[in-house]
């Protein structure tokens, strides 16, 4: 008997089932189909300005910094200012995201490079798939548009998120993922990011910048 078969046989013996019971199969099918949401905290169930404000408060509580701009065209200037204010070099790496590419980077003196990170980049910018107001979390999706390495290797990670993509809860983001990728399918990687990298492993003291970015800066774009 293969390991797989023996494990299944053992599980079924312990549970006292055969595995072909119609009712059990129906219950499982149904749950996978319906994906019930469970208990959703009321905290995030606000809309409009209130939701953006909650997202900002929660992201800042996770030690990210947040700035708002009124249009996508203002993003390059805002990022250039952030880098200057923190005495960081005027370099920036990004993927092939069309929303980022369409921004007027030429209006700044930033030296832009494209593609995934190989570990030598100080600053990177990615565009979020969405945000979650409940905990100030950003949802990132892998792909050539926003390579996953940009989320982790640079010292300073800047995430651009459209205000309209900031949802109340995680479940609303999953609905959008299903709409984009099909029910039951997922992008290779979804990263939820809530603040910059940290560790408490030495004497339970919180220190920022463990292996991922030392700084997480979020730019919320109010209008498209």
């Amino acid at each position: 008997m293969s390991a797989r078969d023996e494990i299944f046989a053992n599980i079924r013996r312990s549970l006292g089932v055969k595995g072909n019971e119609t009712i059990r199969k129906q219950i499982v099918q149904d749950r996978l189909e319906r994906a019930p949401r469970g208990v959703i905290p009321t905290r995030g169930q606000v809309s409009g300005e209130e939701r953006i404000a909650l997202f900002k408060t929660m992201a800042e509580a996770s030690l990210a910094t947040v700035t708002e701009v009124s249009s996508a065209a203002d993003v390059p200037q805002s990022i250039a200012l952030f880098l200057r204010d923190h005495n960081l070099p005027a370099t920036l790496r990004m993927g092939d995201d069309l929303r980022l590419k369409a921004m007027p980077w030429g209006e700044t003196t930033l030296e832009i490079s494209h593609g995934p990170s190989e570990g030598g980049d100080l600053n990177a910018v990615s565009h979020a798939f969405g945000g979650v107001a409940e905990t100030g979390t950003l949802a990132m999706i892998s792909g050539p548009e926003n390579p996953s390495t940009l989320n982790f290797l640079p010292d300073n990670h800047i995430i651009v998120v459209s205000a309209k993509d900031i949802a109340s809860d995680y479940e609303s983001v999953w609905n959008r993922v299903r709409f984009a990728f099909g029910k039951g399918s997922m992008p290779r990687t979804v990263n939820w990011i809530t603040g910059p990298s940290r560790s408490g492993d030495i004497e339970q003291t919180l220190l920022l910048g463990a292996h991922g970015p030392r700084r997480l800066h979020v730019v919320v774009v109010r209008e498209q």
């Binding site: 797989r4 312990s14 469970g38 905290p41 809860d169 999953w174 039951g184 990263n191 560790s199 292996h211």
Partner: protein, 477 residues
Amino acid sequence: MNVHSTSPQFKQNAARALHDAQLQKALNNVKQGFIDKRKAAADKLPEFEALRDSARDIKNHTLEHLDLYLEAYESKVKASGGHVHFARNAEEAREIILEICREADAKTVTKGKSMISEEIGINHYLEANGIRPIETDLGEYIIQLRNELPSHIIAPAVHLNATQVEQDFRRVHTHLDAKRDLSEPVQLLTEARAVLRERFLAADVGITGANFLVAETGTSIIVTNEGNGDLTQILPKTHIVLASLEKLVPTLEDASQLLRVLARSATGQEMSVYTTFSTGPRRSGDADGPENYHVVLIDNGRSSMLGTSFEEMLRCIRCGACMNHCPVYHAVGGHAYGWVYPGPMGAVLTPSLIGVDQAGHLPNASTFCGRCESVCPVRIPLPKLMRHWREREFERHLTPASVRSGLSFWGFFAKRPALYRLATRAAMAGLAFAGRQRGRFTWLPFSKGWTKYRDFPAPQGETFQARWQRERKGKTA
């Protein structure tokens, strides 16, 4: 063979721990930090208790239908281009992992934090076969340098102080300037970051655990604060996920419910910094990510726990809240428990996995104060399950003869209430008389275990039962 245990020597381990000044200093960090942080996070979320119920129900539902959810999960992983391997026990898991590493022609393997990888002892096995495993979670990295097991499931190096870490870094990082300043914890962190960054970029295979597996999509989930688990899985060509069977949940919504209680119970964070959902290998057009994605599903005793009173233990999501709130863990730390899983969850799980004959002391190392159960995010009745182990230990005649004869002696009276009342009244009156001068005893027959360390207070002369009766009569009269 699982990784070696010293659980049978729990008493000696505990005695040594109590006299270890460094350890006692480090354990203060557990008492002070975790409890307040968890409470603050729970208090901030009005739905927290309802979410705990929801988390418990999701786990129960999944366990009842585990065979079917496993099948659904397996087919989804395959559909996304990944491979699923089944391992009955630690040996099989190690062989599968070694085989994948050899196929990848691996020289070094980076590792994200994974308790199941500790359980199967993969590091020593890879090393013995010429492959270098490198732990990348800061705490795990530190204990790997010291050749120790984790002493806590989410804070593996919680038993150490910064000066000890400094000594280890100086001993191992000999390529760096010997006169460098490492007096601040942040300097230790920066040094580890730089050393490990090179390892991340050079590794051929990345091994992570999984906090959850999602049947709906064939997704594995890891949760970290450092980002080490992500660098482990996106940089090397091959990503291996190690997971025990009970990590499964039905849907992304179910995972989201559990994630809402996990970080809050563990570190008191609203959400961990990085929660990563991985589904299969690199897609066409991807600029990064692993080219091969393997999942090793490990039973190692879990399927036999289903359908028994210990099935409830399979709900555990490894948050560490039970040990953070345990007075015994606070006193002796994690290593005294002698195997991979310490604290109350370890006291229940370890006998299931390595046998009650090996780990029978662990469920006895509890005052049954109940704090563990009161904070468990999936409401595992830990004291009840420890009591079940005590009963089994007794049934199997593993309890020492002195305890057994003591219990039989007590049992003889307990089964004869009139005699019990008479005997206890006589004993209490006698002790009260004997101790009337000093109000305490420094020595009593058959009680050396107690009086060696502290005085025994002299009784007031009346038994609890007698007082209860007297006061009840007073009330009804």
